[in-house]
């Protein structure tokens, strides 16, 4: 298998560089912009795009049917009034956290290896948040009235109820979407300029000309650019934490046993990073393979992400443990019953599945051999995502289906439409991503170039060949 071969021949010590030697400013620029400008439509890309569009069609149909018939087409009931929709929402939001995290926190921590993965991680964030945003709207009984959650001057002289965590959600998610968008776009401007200058096709020139807003790499530009980029990062960091904390409060503020727990915010945030990085792995591994970016997305990146996955998995495991411990220690009859039911009740299979996926499987990453095994990382990333999704479902469904009044207990059975909405949103995510990698430079050229510069001042002098090659 090529991947293993690669890791063997490169040897495991010292740790992989974040940028393989032999890359010049020009070659970096060439390679990245080529994906957007020169690369022909490959059947693989075409197939992937069409497939995901098929799922988008499914999603569209589900939405139309949902609006026409009502929320009842899903499996929700009383007591389980929230089903897959909210689980999906939390899951997607969680995934949406890795991007900003990588670009913001790692930037502040001055982690060089973030550079080559942050662009598409951020794109991933945007698309994930878009998917997430879909569900709270769709799961409303009257989706067309969603704007009542927004304070606007209405003839009823009414306001939203700001004590409700859902309102907090509304503010958090919309803010998060906006900020991530700005952050992502700002990072994109110089690269768009680069592509603009490479583009032969006038249409592409026009497009990237517009996107790049006339960026010309002036020193002053760079100054303001960096200062604002850093400050945005500094803002995004607490934001990203707050967003999932607030999402977790949708549950923690409720009195439902299994929801009402103070451990939720940290443990949700950790879970978010967990699933988020898993998703980055899921995307990065095929990308670097198909677009031959092994030089820029090196084993070092994958390994580091593996470490983060392992760490967050431990935090999440601690969260599970805390929940159980507190349920027992508090002596709260309802909490304790809930814990028992979680482990041995109607939905116990889901509980054990999520433990397997989120706690047991990631432990393999202690071993460097596994951690650097690209194939295993890929598989594991999928396992983790399944696990985290299951966790959300368990929190939402299992907690609700047996709360305080035994008389009201009732099972929740997802319908085909629940699954359609989930897979549809996956399709939407994939579709957006496919378009993104074709249309926009998926790796921040200028940052990698800077990286190269910091490593060896005069790459051009050392590889005149490459330099010549890069000269138009």
């Amino acid at each position: 298998m090529a991947v293993e071969h690669e890791s063997r021949q490169k040897g495991l010590n010292p740790p992989e560089p974040v940028l393989l030697p032999g890359q010049t400013y020009a070659s970096i620029d060439e390679q990245i912009s080529a994906i957007v400008l020169k690369r022909p439509l490959t059947p693989g890309w075409l197939f992937g795009t069409l497939l995901s569009f098929a799922f988008i069609m499914l999603l569209t149909f589900t939405i139309v049917y949902l609006i026409a018939r009502g929320i009842g087409i899903w499996g929700v009931d009383v007591p389980v009034a929230w089903g897959f929709a909210i689980a999906n929402f939390v899951w997607w939001i969680g995934i949406g956290h890795a991007g900003t995290l990588i670009s913001a926190i790692l930037l502040l921590l001055n982690q060089k290896w973030r550079t080559s993965i942050n662009r598409f991680a951020e794109a991933m964030t945007l698309f994930a948040v878009a998917c997430a945003g879909l569900f709270p709207l769709l799961h409303l009984g009257r989706p067309w009235a969603f704007y009542w959650l927004f304070p606007y001057p209405n003839t009823m002289a009414l306001w939203p109820q700001f004590r409700s965590p859902l309102i907090w959600d509304f503010f958090a998610v919309s803010t998060y979407l906006t900020v991530s968008l700005l952050f992502w776009y700002q990072g994109l401007i110089p690269d768009a300029a680069a592509v603009r200058d490479r583009a032969q096709n006038p249409l592409k020139r026009l497009f990237f000309g517009i996107v790049s807003l006339g960026w010309r790499g002036s020193a002053i530009h760079w100054k303001y650019y960096e200062s604002s980029y850093w400050l945005l990062a500094a803002l995004a960091t607490p934001l990203v934490v707050s967003v999932h904390s607030i999402v977790s409060m949708d549950f923690a503020v409720g009195i439902v046993p299994g929801w009402h727990s103070t451990i939720f915010p940290p443990y949700f945030v950790a879970g978010a990073i967990f699933s988020g990085f898993a998703m980055v792995l899921t995307l990065a591994i095929p990308l670097r393979k198909f677009y031959h970016l092994e030089d820029m997305v090196t084993l070092r990146h994958l390994e580091n992400m593996g470490k983060i996955v392992l760490a967050t998995s431990l935090v999440v495991a601690y969260g599970y443990f805390q929940e159980t411990l507190m349920a027992w220690y508090s002596g709260d009859r309802f909490e304790w019953y809930m814990v028992q039911d979680r482990a041995f009740g109607n939905y116990s299979f889901a509980f054990w599945l999520l433990l397997l996926c989120n706690v047991v499987a990631p432990q393999t990453l202690w071993v460097r051999k596994w951690r650097t095994n690209v194939l295993w990382l890929f598989v594991l990333s999928l396992i983790v995502q399944i696990g985290m999704w299951t966790e959300r479902v368990v929190i939402v469904v299992q907690s609700l289906h047996r709360d305080f009044m035994p008389s009201a207990w009732h099972m929740y059975y997802p319908t085909v439409w629940d699954w359609a909405a989930l897979t549809g949103s996956l399709g939407l995510f994939a579709g957006l991503f496919f378009l993104f990698i074709r249309i926009l430079p998926m790796i921040p050229t200028h940052e990698v170039q800077k990286l190269a510069h910091e490593r060896e001042p005069h790459p051009e002098r050392e590889n005149p060949a490459a330099a010549a090659k890069a000269r138009p």
Binding site: Y152, P153, N154, T155, M156, A157, L158, P202, R205, G209, I210, L213, G214
Partner: protein, 216 residues
Amino acid sequence: MARPFPPYTNTLSRVIVFGLFVSPILIGWIATAINWSPYINETNIPRNQPVPFSHKHHVGGLGLDCRYCHTTVETTSFANIPPIHTCMTCHSQIWKDSPMLAPIRDSYASDIPVQWTRVNFVPDFVYFNHSIHVNKGIGCETCHGRVDEMPLTARGQPLMMAWCLNCHRNPERYVRPREDVFIMGYQPPENQLTLGRQLVQQYHIRKLQDCYTCHR
């Protein structure tokens, strides 16, 4: 090399960026304006009726009391539309051949009721009760406007929630002595507020903002 963007694009692009800022605000403002406008709440828009009944003539001119026709206004939630019988009490004597009144006579003869077009109404989920308002000293005019000046009846006030609340929150501004309730063109005294507060005390009027006051 290819020529870059022409200079005017600078202005253009800046205008666009600025527009991105302003347009949402503008759109929101326009939407709100429409939403509050008579186009939506139909204030002062006369409606056509099978018989062009003129309150101006009957109330302003002849000086009929509201209760002569709307008999149940003091006792029930609903101020009834007068039965054709009521019309005929006079119009069997006067204008008894007027073609304008033909539908009334036909209805009276054939026993098939006339279908008027509603002018004042609130949505089905709003439970408005005339009797309590009338008994607490809220004039007809306060909600229905100068009916005595309407040749064709139109809605005198927007009848939207914000408007209702305005009075429910400050009844003292609108309440009048019970005996003046049915007066059109009532002039509130200069000391309306003091009088109002006193009446609020006297009539035991409370500031009802609870949703259940109107929605059940």
